[in-house]
Symmetry: none
Subunit: 188 residues, 2 copies
Amino acid sequence: MTELRVLTTGEAAKYCGVTFRTVIRWIERGRLKAYKLPGRGDHRIRADDFVAFLRENQMPVPGDLADDNRMILVIEDQPEMAAAIRRVLKRAGYDVEVAADGFVAGTLLSQLKPCLITLDLKMPGIDGHQVLTYVREHEEHAQSKVLVISAETPEGLERALQNGANDILPKPFDNNELLAKVERLIAE
Amino acid sequence: MTELRVLTTGEAAKYCGVTFRTVIRWIERGRLKAYKLPGRGDHRIRADDFVAFLRENQMPVPGDLADDNRMILVIEDQPEMAAAIRRVLKRAGYDVEVAADGFVAGTLLSQLKPCLITLDLKMPGIDGHQVLTYVREHEEHAQSKVLVISAETPEGLERALQNGANDILPKPFDNNELLAKVERLIAE
DNA sequence: TTTTCACCTGACATAAATGACAATTATTCC
DNA sequence: GGAATAATTGTCATTTATGTCAGGTGAAAA
């Protein structure tokens, strides 16, 4: 379900700090790709064309437009386990950040807006279910998939699914299995 | 969509009392971050980059640029205590958000970039000293003041000051005392 | 539907870019 | 301390992209 975002000249203008008149001139001169609506001739700019334009001109690309997000947040307090997950995902080409406690998990979640989160339900001082609920209740993380990786009981894992987890992976797990689940979720 | 203010070289020039020619030179030499428009190569400077530049060079930051942030983050797990602090600060005109655990504290800290944080050192599942260290180690929170409000031992409070707390307030406290300390820190 | 709002166009005003040179300020060396 | 040197900033003139305004119309919201 790839939603194709388009911008009006006014929106594009705000992103680069100019007036929409200027954006229209860029379009007229062929620097920025756009198409016209049949009515008044309103311009519409596809988000990916706009991002390409920004990159071409070394202009800053706003985070909410660049969705080539390969960032994965690993919430896991056991260092060896975190390192193992990280290794597998890094090798597959993802950007990986690890949060070993709730506070850091919160800061990284807000900063990185990861496309996927692996979540250990049982961590000292942080309730995994609560993290899950938070992610599902906040619009800005609607795109983020959550893969629960935990040694919880089957009941606990079941509950996680009900709370909005996209998939579960019981510990201990197989590396290939982990990667398969991650790729499948991200491909969705 | 991020509503972000940007400046032209001329505007930036007026703010620091130089000509725009000079501002361009700062940009060319890499001292001031900016990007160029595709047309004539006009420069645009993001307001936060400009403010960072001003601070870096100990130049005065004009009031209309220094985001007049009145947001206070209260990190406190006891509901009555949190409510009490909130009430006092709200009445004084601040925007107040409460985080009752580490995870929420992390998300709110990153999102709100509060001008002041009140921090309870003793909370279940989160070490206040760690939060303090985090805030002090991350540049984007350099402007945030931290007021430790805690029933800690004198030694613990002393340690907090060493870790970068701007002030401390032992529990139980007087409302006026709280407000006085907050106002003093923010006025700094 | 009606109303509001955002966008389009064209003409004009504004202000930013550039390059060269002058003026000012800081630094170095004796 | 004072002079020579270097570095930074200001000034000027020209070019032109960008901003602004007004009048109009479709698009979207209520």
